[in-house]
Symmetry: C2
Subunit: 476 residues, 2 copies
């Protein structure tokens, strides 16, 4: 047992003897023997105990652990919380509340004591129960691997959570306590032992043992094997995802569709799940059906289509991009200017701040100056050269409105619906509503990124030219 614990710490957690660990000790055999083994093997430990204030015996448990620490000369820290209150306040189950409070406390103390890791005493039996629980709740590889011996948990950015006893069975622990004369409390405090887990432990596992007497060992080995398989797959996803992710914000991620389509089904599913979990950290289950629907849409190789991903997220195809978006959020396109207000430009031509770090600059040039700039050869669709004489002095920058029409350069005599023009020009859908349109007396004179209006083009007799450029000042 000792060697299993130390090997796990050294090989899986990179924690050699001499390291400092904060050990969560309830007073039960698991955590008491963990603390004992660690000290015997040369680790520095701090004993931490949280009184959840849930049961009468809790105060006695706390005293017991304090005495255990004192007798052995360990550092000791404890606290009292009212789990019931906390559960009510945040609408959590008692088990969830206890878990939140416990890990919150352990990592707060871990930081205070500047330890290398927090150690908890989950056993091989706990692992088997966890695996079965995930199996019964519906799970892929990520659930079947159970708990990890080394976990960079959400509780602290630098201090990991380690579980050195995941390979040790309760029987071994009981034998160890007896051999070493360790006094322990009956473990009331395992608040993860919900009704469901208790049924597993007391009914299902014994039942499964009648199918195969070796079932616990086999399930443990299964989770161990799958865990290494999962590592391989996760590494692959983490290696390929950056090259595939073309946009990222708090509210969305965009993936390059062509790269995504080149992946095998297993990686496609994993990439989607990974992105979903980035946008919704802590989300427990990603819906199987939602992922399958999403993949069907992406594979259709069309440039539109969308589906609900659950958890308030949706997937939306946009030309060559796959957007995974917080359902409520409007997502600026990184390549298209963005306007959140309407405003007159007025007489003073100058720099105008748009949104998302886009700016508009207006300059008046003579024809000669413009020609020196080479404006006839200009191919930058975010720079326009207009005949100033055709423009009123009060230009307006605004978003599109219902009924807008536009007469693009080259189309003499008549105009078309702006909506149709935008679609034909392949402006990404999310960029359309917020595209800053330059207008004069309510006619659109420029659709930035696409074309100027025919009546305002520079003609042979043009004397004065208005140059408008749109550019981004900083990249997010």
């Amino acid at each position: 047992m000792i060697s299993k614990i130390i090997e796990t710490l050294q090989n899986d957690c990179d924690l050699a003897p001499g390291s400092t660990l904060l050990v969560g000790v309830s007073g039960g055999a698991d955590s008491v023997s963990l603390a004992h083994v660690l000290v015997e093997s040369g680790y520095q430990i701090v004993i931490a105990h949280l009184n959840h204030g849930l049961r009468e015996e809790a105060a006695e448990d706390e005293k017991f652990v304090e005495k255990f620490a004192e007798e052995h000369g360990f550092s000791f820290t404890s606290a009292y919380t009212d789990t019931g209150d906390f559960a009510e306040e945040y609408s959590l189950s008692i088990e969830e509340a206890a878990r939140e409070l416990r890990y919150g406390f352990l990592f707060e103390q871990a930081e205070a004591y500047m330890v290398d890791a927090v150690a908890v005493a989950h056993t091989a039996d706990d692992q088997v129960e966890t695996v079965l629980m995930h199996l019964l709740r519906g799970s892929g590889l990520d659930g079947l691997v159970g708990m990890k011996a080394y976990w960079e948990s959400p509780w602290h950015p630098e201090i990991p959570l380690v579980r050195p006893m995941l390979g040790v069975w309760r029987e071994e622990i009981d034998a160890y306590c007896q051999q070493n004369g360790l006094d322990t409390r009956f473990d009331h405090s395992n608040l993860d032992t919900t009704f469901f887990r208790n049924r597993l432990r007391q009914n299902l596992i014994p039942e499964l043992t009648t199918y195969n007497p070796n079932i616990k060992t086999l399930l443990w080995q299964m989770s161990d094997t799958l865990s290494a398989d999962q590592d391989v797959l996760e590494n692959m996803v983490n290696t390929m995802l950056p090259a595939m992710r073309v946009e990222q914000s708090e509210d969305h991620v965009a993936l390059a569709a062509i790269r995504f389509r080149g992946l095998s089904l297993g990686l496609q599913r994993r990439v989607l799940r990974q992105v979903i979990s980035e946008l919704r950290p802590g989300l427990r289950d990603v819906d199987y059906g939602a992922v399958e629907r999403a993949i069907t849409i992406i594979r259709q190789d069309q440039q539109k289509g969308q589906t609900d991903l659950g958890a308030g997220l949706r997937l939306q195809m946009e030309q060559d991009r796959i957007l995974i978006v917080d359902g409520e959020e409007e997502i600026p396109h990184p390549d298209w200017p963005w306007l959140e207000w309407d405003d007159e430009i007025g007489d003073n031509f100058e720099e105008i701040e748009l949104s998302e770090a886009w700016q508009m600059r207006l300059t008046e040039l003579s024809l000669e100056q413009a020609e020196q700039e080479g404006f006839r050869e200009n191919t930058d669709l975010f720079t326009a050269y207009l005949d100033a004489a055709t423009l009123s002095s009060s230009l307006l920058v605004r978003g599109r409105q219902v009924g807008d029409r536009f007469q693009p350069l080259g189309m003499a005599g008549h105009s078309q619906k702006l909506a149709d023009f935008m679609i034909n020009a392949k402006i990404p859908p999310r960029a359309r509503a917020r595209l800053p349109l330059v207008c004069a007396t309510d006619k659109i004179v420029w659709v930035p990124g696409v074309r100027i209006a025919h009546p305002h083009r520079v003609k042979e007799n043009t004397k004065s030219i208005l140059k408008i450029s749109i550019f981004r000042t900083i990249k997010e």
Copy 2:
């Protein structure tokens, strides 16, 4: 249901309507409805039925299926076998014997009818049972994925086995039979329904449903998800294995240790399992503990060590190679000459056949001829230049013997144990016993690949030189 079946055939099996399928039909609802759906959807089918000769109703089942085929105008083929006899003859369980015979018959007929695939009617319920069965027997990913919809089975090198109904539940099938007025037999013939599987179906699955009413769907989705994960991992292994496999024969595989050590644990395990299954096709379970022991030995980064892999295989470290070997077999090293006999070379210097396509050639040269060849600069350790005058006329080629000693070039005056010399010279262990030693009056004059004996070196006064070269005529 129809669309699920057709999608599986088209997307997973690359079989469009119009393809020809041989369908194994027992007479039960599953196989009868599969045949019906296939024909309705434009596939060409041949109905095949094997009478296992195990039950009284078997003859009636056969008649029923024949009539079903006749009424619908399908091609029909059937045969009778004595499963009991076959089981006894080959020491198989009745279930294994029935399976052998059934698939043997189906693929024999498939070849005769020149069909594109053999289709069998395993359902989503069968899949869930299979997954649970593997889970209870102990399994990694490869068992948890259950059956595959498309399988290049060992039964035929070109005709695949397909299972288009793996996504269809029995309930759907019963409803389909009712809607289409399909008459079916009670399915006695599912001989996979062993005692163990029956317990699963009748006791365990209903029991699990009390933990989660949705359990069957969830287990099905799990196997589907894992299957895609497995594909990714298998592709990786198949991509990397060729570059890592430095030797291969019917009896062994050698892997480059340095490359193996560079893999993550999950891939290491998979590579070992893959190699084991190549040497032992059809092996059902690779022992978890054996794989772990093997990896421990390989990681120690020593140049020796070995472990039993089960199934009559052993793993043996040999310098920079990992050998996985049929326990009984002597494995020639591809880079070292191999001798399976002892023989005198005699007077006539000529070409001598060794084993494993190695040859030895002896030539007599004058000192001038040898110098023209540049023998002093020679660095080929499989070519020796010896002073002919120091050699008796009867040279012998033999393997090493107990008590052999050797006086290597450069060591004047005394000799050392041949065994020590071979170890110091880093001759791979398996090459040592079979290395062809050239001897004169029982003294070793040359250890090929390493060094000649000191007394037989070419000296200033040497007139005549014996040149011996060892080379391989063909590469396997």
